[in-house]
Amino acid sequence: MTVRNGSFSYRRGEPILQNIDLTVEPGQILAILGPNGAGKTTLLRCITGMLRWTGGDSLLGGESIRSMPPRKLWSRMAYVPQARTASGAYTAFETVLLGRSSRLGPFASPGREDLRKAEEVMELLGISALADKKCSGISGGELQMVLIARALAAEPQVLILDEPESNLDFKNQLVVLDTMSRLASEGMACIFNTHYPTHALQRSDKALLLSKGGDYKFGNTAQVVTEASIRRSFGVEAVIGTLPTPLGEVQSVIPLRIANQEGGHHEA
């Protein structure tokens, strides 16, 4: 998945995204970071073609997604919305099954193969027990996993997740992040928005840090998520520390205080 020279602005207004270039290979995770209102969600929607780039293009497997028929595009790429925006009318299984839509004709209903695939992904994510529960009656963490399962049911090569670990408790955050890591290790390309620089440092191969006004930095996570870039983008003084843990050394970002806007002297 590649974005070449992507720019976006609403009809009358300042450009929100300018000349974005990024690439994610199969098996890689890209984290998109940035302060509220910097355009993270807009970027995600532009990458997927839900919003049209006003300049530039997204390429999937070297092919422009603009010229791709939607059903072909969405059987290669899948989108996981934020759980709080999802509809709760269906059971978990019915929701997962909707992920097969891109592979079914307009008058078709899911066949044996589709049902099996939906069962398979639910088992893979360990949520088979939820199958007959209504989405309105399960927890936020469970719903997020159901939505990931729905995306996987389309058998995509690229998975796009909009703040998948927001509004979740510690354990559910880990469940979601572990799932993403595992999918990547099996060859999936994952792109996710996040409010947690620590998650980017620990999980992603690449990172894209947006600042308000369209500036951005893209590259290997270790080079993008630094104390200096966090200060510049978020206006927050943070330290990046390495903690010894039973699982080896783990990096973590700790926000200290709001940075002095005048840009004078700062203690480290």
């Binding site: 839900m50 059903r71 709760g88 009318a89 269906y90 909707l98 839509s101 008058f107 078709a108």
Partner: protein, 339 residues
Amino acid sequence: MTAMRTGKLRYGWRAACLLLPVAAGVLALGIGRLAFSPTQVLQAIGQALTGAADMTALIHRTLWRLRLPRILLAALTGAGLSAAGCAFQSLFANPLATPDTLGVASGASFGAALGLLLGLDILGIQCSALVMGGAAVALTWLAGTGSHRGRSTIVLSGIMMGSVFNALVSLVKFAADEESQLPAITYWLMGGLQNASYRTLLLGAPLIVTGVAVLWLLRWRMNLLPLSDDEARASGVSITRLRAVVVVCATMITAACVAMCGQVGWVGLLVPHMCRMKFGSNHLALLPVSISTGAAFLIAVDTAARSISAQEIPISILTALLGAPFFIALMRRKGGWSL
């Protein structure tokens, strides 16, 4: 492995869906001032099919000229309004949506009232109702859609357009002749199937059948309707086209129903919700069940409307009086539901 969750109805339920309206129809054929037992009705049906005509002309006329078209009209209207209501509730992700949400019934009522005022014949009234119903929805659609507008915008503009057309109906009533036209318009607006004949069915029935058939074919895909815009688009399905097709079908159905029998309230709201409580929101099961239940429900209510008292009771009065308490009882027992 456990049984696959196909979401389809089990065969027993499918048989029930087919039999329920038919059974209601057979019973209803026998009920009325000239009463027949179901056995007699079945005998009569057998005779009619084989051509062995030893029925009296009176029975023949009662069964096939008077009651059958009326039962067919009730079945079509009930099935159509339930399907349309079910579609609109999903489309707007709003449990309060009815077939009239986009103003089609108000528009069609205005068309019918105008036709009555102008003294058109029954076919002219139907055409006028259909055209005005379509026009109301087109206006609502123009007013309520556009970039960055949510689904509540179109529901609100539907309510506005409904009130505009209701005002126009009042205007027509105001202009109508008090002796003859005003009562005719008022009775029409209360809804009733007393005008049923094969001739009235001719115009409306094909529209209802087509609309219901298209919705039925799209029934699994209709599951995408309540999803948010981004989710729906990420399904790879052209959601705009799906919504447009559903709106056109539901509009066509509702306008045709109003054109044939005035405003039959409540069916489009009550029946889909009753079915949702039992069968969930998966349209693969929900839509067929709603169609079948709607048909049987309206046959039953209309039969009651024409046989409870010597004079016919307008059907909307009964749908509300019978439907609402039943609905409330069901809702309280199930503890509500979500869409």
